[in-house]
Each structure stands twice: as C-alpha cells, then as structure tokens.
Amino acid sequence: MTESTDSVSSSDRSPAGPSQSPADGSTARTVTRARRVHPATIVAWIVVAVVVIALPFQLQAFRVNQMSAWMTIAIAALGLNLLTGFNGQISVGHGALFGVGAYTAGLMIIKVHSPLLVAVLAAGVVCFIVGVLVGLPALRIRGLYLALVTLAVATLFPLAVEQFNSLTGGNRGLEIRTEQMSSRGFMKMLPVRLASPFEGLADDQWQYFLFLAATVICLLLTRNLIKSRVGRSLVAVRDNETAAAVSGVPVAQTKIITFGIGSALAGIGGALFAIDLGQIYPSSFTIVISIYFLVAVVVGGAASTVGPVIGAVLYGVFSDVVIPELPDRLQPARAVILGVLLIFLMLAAPGGLVGVFKSTKAKMTIRKAAKAASANAAA
C-alpha cells in the first residue's frame, strides 16, 4: 500500500502537461520535493483499500460481476493513458486492440485449450506485436491525423471480425466454452468461469479479486514505467519532440514501445473482458468502447497514474448503476450526458479529476505558505 501512497505525490513531480499553466506545475513540484508523504494520503489509501476489499462481500453477485468488468476497462484505459496522456499520441481506436485481446484469449481457450492465465498473457503479447505494427505508421502520422487513422481502425475492426467469421463466429459471437466438471460429475463443455478454490469465496468474488490483482499489477507497472527513464522520455517526446531528440531521447523507439505497451495493456483488459462475459460479439468492440476508454482517461485525468482507474470506476458507476434507473425511453441520455461531460471537462478542467485535485492542493499550499510568510514578516 505504501507504494500506491507514493504514486499520488510522485505523479506531481512529472512535468506539467501542456494544459497546465507552468506556474501551477512548478509550485507543485517544489512543494512535493520539500515534503514527506502526508499522513492524510496514507489514511485515504488505506480507506480505499478497505472499501475495495470489503465491497464484494457487501454487494450482490451481479454488482460484483459488473465491478469486474469495470476493472477490465480500467486496465485498457491505463494503456490508453500511457499512449495518449503521457506520450501525446492520440488514439481513438483503442477499442480495436481491446477486441484483438478478447478474441485472442477466446480463441486460445477454445482452439488450444490453454489455461486462462496463459490466454491472458498471450493476448497481451499478441497486442504488443499488433501495437508495434500500428505504431510504425504513427512515426510519420501524428496529432489529429493519427486520431483520424485510429478512428478508421476502430470503425473497421468489428467489420473485420464479421469478415473472418469462420474463425471469429461473426455476428453470432464467439462462445468461450471449456471442459469442466459438471454438477452431475462428468466432464462437459461449459461457458468459461473462474472457479473459486476457497470455501467461503463465491466464484464472482474470486473473479473480482483476481481482476483486482491484475488491475493493481498493471497500475504499479505503468507507475514504475512512468517513473523510469523510459517514462521521462515518453513525456519529453510529448512535450517537445525536437527538444527530446536533441537531448538524446530515441524518439522513434520510444513512440513504438509506448504503442506496444499501451496496446498490450488493452489486450490484457480485453482478454479479462472476454473471460468475464464468456461470449463476445463484434458489436462489443465498436467505436463506442474506444470512446469509453477516452472518457475514462479524460475524466480521471490524462497523464496521471491513477486517473484512468478512477475514471473507469466512475464511468462504470454511471453506466451500470445510475443509467439503468432511467426509464427505457431516456436510455440514450447516457450518451448525451457523457458527451456534454466530456466537452465541459475539456473547457473547465482539462486535467480531469486528478488535475482538479492537484491544482486545488497546490493552491492551498501556496496560500498556507503565503500566510506563514506574512506571519514571519509580522514577527
């Protein structure tokens, strides 16, 4: 837990994003260096941990399942954030990689009968390779144009899945069945599930904790990556490519590796998503899911380590808990609300929730420092 505690304060140290005014960024940086981790932050993280662990025991099974799905989105959003938030390569097509991961895992399980963990890792590896391949053209295509290409990829992906229907099952979907011991005691092909090895833990709770572990591992991985030399190169390339190249950052290599890792995370998220649902359709991976990843990243805060996870959870609460309360006729309101929210965020708080939190904190520290200074002067 101490590591995660650190992540909140340490992300302050990363150079300020283009949307943040330089004044904000520099104060935040100097302030953090001078200060140890605040006890309040530790307490906050402990509370989060306790809540996250206690929730599956308090809620109904279908809610626990929904939360597992949120985590798959969170993992993919972490990957997108690495690519778009930290490296500045805008992708509107991350849902396609999520889909590649889901189908890879599904096919691995069905055709090769691979263990689930192997299938998930294979999805990560395949998506890493696909990501590197997609990243190659991105060396020449950037900014808005890259967004355009990825948008086309996102639109194309479900159609491609339908095209190769002999492999993917096309519109009928891909049912992921494995050989399992049926309740009557003989082996049978049944929809994939994660059977809990513990007495007191239901299947859905077991799955929740496995997915939680995966999310935490991916979160720590991205955080450590960002803090490393590679991470600093990512940000340097985003902020000024020429300057980065002049300082000796291998720009092309950095961009391609980011594409690979960002895609691998999307693939892992997609693989878990496929295992969670047990059946996948091309319609699950349209442009819409790509947009949801963007929503998660932007709402939480682009270029902050925990932002995408916060964003994914908020998005999950919004779409699985709040929206179903609306009458059927008003269901499309979900898209309207999300759209307006996105625009409003970009106008009012481009740094997302984490950005708002950071800038308020920085302002409070400045005020405190000013007060202390005036008190000193008076004395």
Binding site: P137, I291, R334, L342
Partner: protein
C-alpha cells in the same frame, strides 16, 4: 462493359455525397484547424430535422432547405458553445479531439432521445425511378447527387472567390491573426464556417438515406470515414481536393469490391488503406498545402 458503366456511375453518385461531407470538413479544417469527428453526426441530426419538417406535410425540397437552415444554426451554436472556448487546436490537439468526440456522442444520443432508434422511411429526394442512357439504367437519385454537388461547388466558388465575405473567410483560413488585425471579425466568420459546413452536411445526409434505405442514428458513421478518406486524398485544406477526392473514393469503393473478393463485405477497407497510404506517402494529399513547421 455495361455493368462496369453502371457501377462507375453509382460510384460517382456515392462519391458526390462523400464530396459534400468532405467540403464541410475542409471548410472547418481550413478555418479552425479542427478535424471535426462530429461532422457526420451533425449531418445525421439535421437530416432528422428534414424528416420532421417533411413529416408535417411540407414538400421535400422545402424541407431540405429548412433542414439546411437548421443545420446552419446547429453548426454555428456548436462552434460558439463547444469549439471556440477550447482554444487553438494546434496547441492542444487532444482537447479538440475530445470535444469533437464528445459532440459525436452527444449529438448521436440527442437524436436517439428525440427520434428513437428505429429506422425511419425517407423518401428519395429525386424519386426512386431511373433513366436509360444507352441501355444503362441510371437512378435519378445518383444523377441528382451529381447535379447537387455541382451546384454546391459552384456556390462555394462564387462565395469564396467573388464575394467580400469569401475573401474575408479565405483571409481567416490563411492567417487568422493577421486577418483579425486588419479588422475582420474572425470569430464570427469561424462561426459562419461551421454553419456552412453543417448546412452542406445536411444535403449529404439526405442523399445517404437513399443509399442506406432509411434514416437512423447511425446514418453517417460509415459515410464519415469515406468523407475523411476523400479529404485525406484531396488534401485537408483544399475544397477542389474534397470534390476530386470524394469522386475518386466513391469510384474506388464501388468498383474495387467487384474485383477484389475480400472487399465485398468491407467497402470500408479500401477507404482505410487509402487514408493510411496517403498520410504515409503524401500527407498533404493531391491538392493540399504542405505543412511546414519552423523550429
């Protein structure tokens, strides 16, 4: 040969629609530097406006004009409320992309809220009949699309090259800062640009309904990609490019699937390959201005 001619003409007809959507995209890109991902959705929305007006018993052509006016207002409002406040797209491309994606979601959702998700029947603007030219049947609707594209192109030419308003708009597109300094009301012209784009998009939407055989909230999602392919090929800042690019993309997407089996179910694939290749090999497209950055 007859077959080929027929496909070719269908391609030019469809291409005219892509060109119309492309013209709107170019007008916006030239003046504000925004690749408007919501262009298709705005067009879909104003096509629903056309449908609603027509549904009240107004003749179709009048309804289309009404829808264009509606589209103009919607486009102008969107620019004022959502796009202008974000700031310079060259400085923060991510913010601008997110805003247009937000518009994409929001406009689509709004259309679903108002008109539902069931496809509506939409009468073809030029009827469903066809005419025989040298033994090749050509749908009136396709001829109509070509004629309307010609009319729009002529109108654009007159407005941009022969009027004071057009001169001012070209000035803004070429250098908005200098344009502002010589007294051109830049923000108002940008707003007009967004309005024009949405109005032309309405016509593209109306023609797309006859290609898809109905009007639903997903009307323009594929057409938008074709429109983007058109302006990528023609050059993002070239009006002529949008028209030429649109026609080429239309012909490619109608003829290729006939000869390459793999494209049959995926007419989108050639468009995608085209976008990718042009951006890689000649990013400025056929008629576009080369992007030069000073270090």
């Amino acid at each position: 040969m007859k077959d080929f001619l027929q496909i070719l003409i269908v391609g030019i007809g469809d291409g005219s629609v892509y060109a119309m959507l492309g013209l709107g995209l170019v007008v916006i890109f030239r003046s504000t530097g925004v690749l408007n991902f919501a262009q298709g959705e705005i067009a879909m929305f104003s096509t629903f406006v056309v449908w609603t007006i027509h549904d009240l018993g107004v003749p179709m052509w009048l309804a289309v004009i009404g829808g264009m006016a509606g589209g103009f207002i919607i486009g102008a409002i969107i620019h004022e409320v959502a796009v202008r406040p974000v700031g310079d797209p060259h400085q923060k491309p991510l913010a601008v992309v997110i805003v247009t994606i937000g518009l994409f979601l929001g406009v689509n959702g709004a259309a679903q809220l108002i008109w539902g998700t069931v496809d509506r029947r939409f009468d073809p603007l030029f009827g469903s009949g066809s005419v025989n030219v040298a033994g090749v049947p050509i749908a009136w609707q396709k001829i109509g699309a070509m004629v309307v594209l010609g009319a729009i192109a002529f109108l654009f030419f007159v407005v941009f090259q022969k009027t004071k308003l057009g001169l001012a708009m070209r000035a803004v597109a070429s250098n908005s800062e200098s344009a502002g300094l010589v007294g051109i009301p830049v923000p108002r012209l940008l707003m007009l640009g967004w309005g024009f784009a949405a109005a032309v998009g309405t016509v593209a939407g109306v023609f797309t309904t006859s290609v898809l055989g109905g009007l639903g909230p997903n009307l323009m999602q594929l057409t938008l990609i074709f429109g983007f392919a058109a302006i990528t090929l023609g050059g993002f800042d070239s009006l002529v490019g949008a028209i030429v690019g649109g026609l080429i993309v239309g012909v490619l997407t109608s003829t290729l699937p006939r000869y390459v089996e793999q494209f049959e179910k995926m007419p989108l694939a050639p468009a995608f390959i085209l976008i990718l290749l042009v951006l890689l090999i000649r990013p400025q497209g056929l008629f576009g201005k080369k992007d030069v950055t000073r270090v």
